[in-house]
């Protein structure tokens, strides 16, 4: 897996292909802030950034979604009214998932009622690792039911699963339980998203799609802050799942600083000069 994943990093993507790839990356970003220190002002700033990535660069795509804690969903909804930028909310006692199912479902319900278009849930890694797969499955299914029309992303937190076999098993389990997306990580622990882990999950998605015909999305999150790495991910999606997944309906990046790096690359391509950190808005 590691070797196969490494080969995706050896493609040379230049010129027009790079330009299109970078714009695609921007359009797939879930612009994220999940800090204990988040304030309404921070959320407003993030939403403004989602709408206005860089006003001096014409015809930029906007990001796919903003990703916030449940208590900021209604604010984000107001800030992004009139755009088609989605609101994603983490729920189910993010990032640890250590609370009762009732509380988790209540949290999901509140987030959906407040206007979340997408719910990012975490699985109970402790239960999963102790072999209580039924519990994990039932929990995902219950959350899916509570989501209603909101799309459900299931965070496996692969950095805590120990090995790739577990990642594959958790991916299959999440998809069978009804996940619309499977997502690598919370971003709160290291390692977060890596190419080999994402490849395993993409292969699980491919096999599930062949078996059932249902398309499931993929979201690597955490640790992807360089445009070049993001392009490697796109290459991997293209070569594993094909072009049907190269759309922000089916593939997302969970990231906070990636957008700025992509913007800088786009500015470099347009002006010929490497821009400074001060040339793009703060995260």
């Amino acid at each position: 897996m590691a070797q196969r994943a490494k080969r995706f990093t050896e493609r040379s993507i230049k010129g027009e292909a790079k330009r299109q790839g970078l714009r695609m990356v921007l359009n797939m970003i879930d612009l994220t802030t999940l800090e204990g220190s988040d304030t309404p002002g921070k959320i407003q700033q993030l939403c403004h950034k989602a709408r206005h990535l860089h006003d001096n660069v014409p015809d930029l795509p906007h990001v796919a979604a903003v990703c916030v804690y449940p208590n900021f969903v209604s604010l984000a909804k107001r800030e992004l009214a009139g755009t088609d930028i989605k609101i994603a909310s983490v729920a189910t006692a993010f990032p640890s998932g250590q609370t009762s199912l009732e509380l988790k479902l209540t949290e999901v319900e509140q987030a959906v009622d407040a206007g979340a278009d997408e719910i990012d849930m975490v699985i109970s890694r402790g239960r999963f690792l102790s072999g209580d797969f039924d519990y994990v499955f039932d929990e995902i299914a219950a959350v899916k039911q509570t989501c209603g029309t909101a799309r459900l992303k299931v965070i496996l937190e692969t950095g805590e699963l120990g090995n790739l076999d577990n990642v594959r098993h958790a991916s299959d389990l999440a998809m069978e339980a009804g996940a619309d997306f499977i997502k690598t990580s919370t971003g709160k622990i290291k390692p977060a998203a890596t190419l080999p882990v994402t490849l395993v999950m993409l292969l699980a998605i491919r096999d599930y799609h062949r078996r059932t015909g249902r398309q499931v999305g993929m979201k690597p999150a955490g640790g992807i802050s360089q445009s070049k790495l993001a392009l490697h991910y796109l290459v991997m999606v293209q070569e594993t799942l094909g072009p049907a997944w190269l759309d922000n309906q089916w593939f997302r990046f969970g990231a906070s600083s990636l957008a700025n790096d992509v913007l800088k690359q786009i500015i470099k391509q347009q002006t010929g000069y490497y821009p400074a950190a001060d040339d793009v808005s703060r995260d």
């Binding site: 010929g272 000069y273 490497y274 821009p275 400074a276 950190a277 040339d279």
Partner: protein, 308 residues
């Protein structure tokens, strides 16, 4: 690589096969090869010095990323601590004195010239180490103003500096500008002498073991003509130190100035004889500093008059 003077042979009947060195660049505290995979072979009197990395604009970008990441924490260190770290460079150079002299000779200097350049280099490090916690007092001021305010002017580092090192003084020339740049709290990306790059690489090895934090000094080897438009335009670089004689026909300094103006960079062109004592001075530190003036109201806290 050219052959070193061997001091002693352990077994004359079975001479050792010498282990040749791969010359690499110094970026972010590591010694990477160029991402471009290209090399060039400078020659002195017809003899190749070895294969050196031919830095590409992406190497330049990586070095600037490293320098930018290191700048804030380098500037935040206490002046006294920067001084200690610079002094440690002198300690490391002293231990490599023999190697540095040998390498200058390989690059075309006579034995006397080489020894003198190395000794002057070490002394220059000590000189600027001493200035780290003193230039601020000399160049800062309390300014008279016609209102109840304190008005201070203090120096702050310019930021990330790109340094095109002297072509003919591969060690002393490089240090003579890197040291004042560092003393002022800046970080630097150096383009080593393209015709005599060995000394810059050995110096990098000294820096890597001398408490200088990773990314504070970065050394590239390559060609000025290839990189000049890229560093002049790079908006993350705040100043340029160009150690080149001004030439009327070849106007590389002129084109660098013109491109650099777009991003409001400071460009200093030096054409000094670094062997002369008067060319080590604190004004070189000031060249890479910005003056910040602050106003602070004088508060009445005692009955006898204004005070703190």
């Amino acid at each position: 690589m050219a052959k070193r003077k061997t001091k002693r042979t352990t077994n004359p009947e079975h001479p050792r096969l010498p282990v040749l060195k791969t010359y690499k660049m110094f970026v972010g505290g590591k010694f990477p090869r160029t991402e471009s995979g290209r090399h060039y072979t400078p020659r002195v009197k017809g003899r190749g010095l070895g294969n050196f990395c031919l830095a590409s604009r992406k190497d330049l970008r990586n070095a600037v990323v490293a320098a930018r990441a290191a700048q804030a924490s380098w500037a935040e260190r206490s002046a006294y601590n920067r001084s200690q770290i610079l002094y440690r460079i002198a300690e490391m150079l002293e231990g490599r004195r023999g190697q540095l002299i040998d390498e200058l000779e390989i690059q075309g200097a006579t034995e006397g010239q080489a020894a003198s350049e190395v000794d002057q280099s070490i002394e220059r490090v000590v000189y600027y180490a001493g200035w780290c916690d003193k230039y601020q007092q000399v160049f800062s001021s309390v300014n008279p103003v016609a209102s109840p305010h304190f008005n201070f002017s203090v120096l702050e580092p310019t930021g990330v500096v790109f340094h095109v090192a002297s072509e003919n003084r591969p060690l002393l020339g490089l240090l003579s500008l890197v040291l004042p740049i560092l003393a002022g709290g800046n970080t630097v990306v150096c383009l080593a002498s393209s015709t005599r790059p060995i000394s810059a690489i050995t110096l990098s090895e000294c820096l890597a073991t001398s408490d200088v934090p990773a990314g504070v000094v970065n050394v590239l080897t390559g060609q000025l003509a290839e990189l000049s438009a890229h560093f002049a335009g790079h908006r993350e670089i705040n100043a340029i130190a160009l150690d080149r004689p001004p030439r009327s026909k070849n106007s590389i300094a002129q084109s660098i100035r013109e491109t650099a103006a777009d991003s409001l960079k400071r460009v200093h062109v030096y054409n000094l004889n670094w062997a002369r004592g008067e060319n080590q001075n604190p004004y070189l530190i000031r060249d890479f500093c910005e003056v910040k003036t602050v106003w602070h109201p004088v508060e009445q806290i005692s009955s006898s008059g204004p005070g703190y």
